[in-house]
């Protein structure tokens, strides 16, 4: 696709420079190592492939969450979203989840989505925690605005973190935002935010060498619960 760079300069939003998210590794309940690291724009095509099958799974609102994640990642890839970032989780090189968000300004963050592609191991919880960690500890923000599109999200974010309701409209539409403040984050940190740094080199090499994507059948089995049918 030909790109008119003169016009692009108008279409592309300005950006706030973001400190990188330092990768970390988490031992999951099954003993596997979950590497959470920041995605680059170059990673987006692979991530879109991983997200795509989830767009057609109605269970737990995966369809709406995955469709929006797909659009948000594409928007970031094509320079149409301001100050967006994406973190991804990998196990044995395979993408098992993605989270994304953006900076509204220097002090306020906006959480977009959390999508666990492998389920039953609290991968979504670990990824959401990493996202909050990024906003509060590394980007030094004061607060993050959050909404949930599924009951699971509501339970995991609003209840587990004790988020405070606001009357601020979230960019995703829907209800008013909830807010994670610095204080709430540090209150919850000991029970919800874990991970080791630095990530051992062999695990980083494995994660960075190639972003692997499990088969669509496997995604359907893990998310849509099609085991044994």
């Amino acid at each position: 696709m030909a790109i008119d760079m003169e016009l692009e300069a108008v279409l592309r939003p300005p950006v706030i420079e973001m400190q990188p998210y330092p990768p970390k590794v988490i031992t999951l309940a099954n003993g596997k190592k979950l590497v959470i690291r920041q995605a680059t724009r170059e990673d987006v095509p692979a991530l879109l492939k991983a997200v795509h099958p989830c767009m057609f799974i109605t269970r737990d609102y995966y369809d709406i969450v995955a469709s929006r994640v797909y659009a948000e990642l594409l928007g970031w890839y094509r320079y149409r979203v301001r100050n967006e970032y994406c973190l991804m989780g990998q196990v044995d090189g395979y993408v098992v989840g993605v989270v994304n968000g953006r900076l509204v300004d220097e002090k306020v963050g906006m959480s977009y989505h959390t999508l666990a592609i492998d389920r039953g191991l609290r991968i979504g919880s670990h990824l959401f925690a990493a996202k909050m960690e990024y906003h509060i500890e590394y980007l030094k923000q004061d607060s993050v605005l959050i909404v949930a599109e599924s009951p699971i999200g509501f339970r995991r974010w609003m209840i587990e973190y004790g988020l405070e309701p606001t009357d601020i409209q979230h960019e995703l539409g829907g209800p008013d935002s909830y807010r994670l403040t610095k204080e709430l984050y540090y209150d919850s940190m000991s029970r919800l935010v874990v991970g080791d740094r630095p990530v051992p080199q062999e695990l980083m090499d494995e994660a960075q060498e190639e972003i692997l994507i499990v088969s669509e059948d496997s995604i359907l089995e893990k998310i849509a619960g099609l085991k044994g049918r």
């Binding site: 988490i26 999951l28 309940a29 039953g120 919880s125 000991s190 085991k227």
Partner: protein, 408 residues
Amino acid sequence: MRDVAIIGVGMIPFGRRDEDGLMDMLAYASLKALDDAGLGAAGGAVRGSGKEPVGIEAVYVGNMGGGILQHQTAVASSLVDRINLLPAAAETVENGPASGGSAVKNGILAVASGYYDYVLVVGGEKMRDVTGWRATDFVATMTHPQVEYVYGLTLPGMAGMFTRLYMEKYGVTRDMLVAVALKNQEMGALNPYAHVEMALSREGIVDSPHSVVNNPTVADPLHLYDACPVSDGAAAIVLCPLDRVKDAKKPPVVIAGFGQATDTHTLQEREDPTDLKAVTLAAQQAFEMAKLTPADIHVAELHDAFTILEIAESEHIGFFKKGEGGKAVLAGKTCFGGSLPINVSGGLKARGHPVGATGVAQVVELVFQLRHELPKNRQVKNAENGFSINFGGFGNNVLSFVLRRVRQ
């Protein structure tokens, strides 16, 4: 009383079955059991009609929550119509989480008494129609309404308090509870019917500091992986008098003994809340009837809704002395390949606990074992006698079964 044989079994994979309703699941499990018994085309029959080929004369369905969760009652009546077993007699049996076991017992009595010859027993529950909170609340309806439920007591809460007491009195340790969880999840990973087909690692749920998220405290001292999942599922068996078993393609399994006992509704009223008297009494009855002792059992399915229950039940049944059940788990005695494998299916911990289905599913698993038809990595070698316990309330209504492979 006539000897009663199990001539057919059926089960569907437990888990979250969004696409199936309660009646769908009961029907699938029933049809599988009827096919397994060679009665797939039998249809229903009036008692004593002498119909040839034989028909199912009575159907017992164990179900605890249809009325609450699906707003549907009289599921047995619906089932006989659904799977074309009219005009067979039909009854729904509600007895809390022991509903499945109670349905099995009623089926046994019906055949043993000589009143019916061919009986279908089904257990099923559809718990994932609602959120986890509502499912927990539904299960808590078995607690005492005035002195427990109104104060917010849930089954995990009750199990937590029971565990703390049991730890203090009998020296059960967290390591012992973890060993039960690891063992049952490892076996569940091999069971295609299991809700959670995933082995756990000790590092991931205990040793690593990351376990605080992976395996959070649910009801101190119990953690997430000390509890069974909330599941959908169904299981079924077909019973007939042993002397009617002719040309069986699969080795018949006989109900050698069964027992049932109750205890106080609330734990607080028990002289010693760690004493599961109903378990002891139900097991004693079953062993007495079977003319066997705990030492004669080769494989057992216990009601491990919480890891502590597998240990406590194993002691109250008489498999181990009080205070020795946890040590036996640590020593590997109860693992696959141990001297008494317990919950080779993965138990409620991994197979799942659709409450009305559990008592029947335990019997189905034992039949698989006693027929010697499981894959090598799950088949207990030369298993001849099996035992199960279905634990209702918090031990206030307990059923036990001793099953024996019939030597042909």
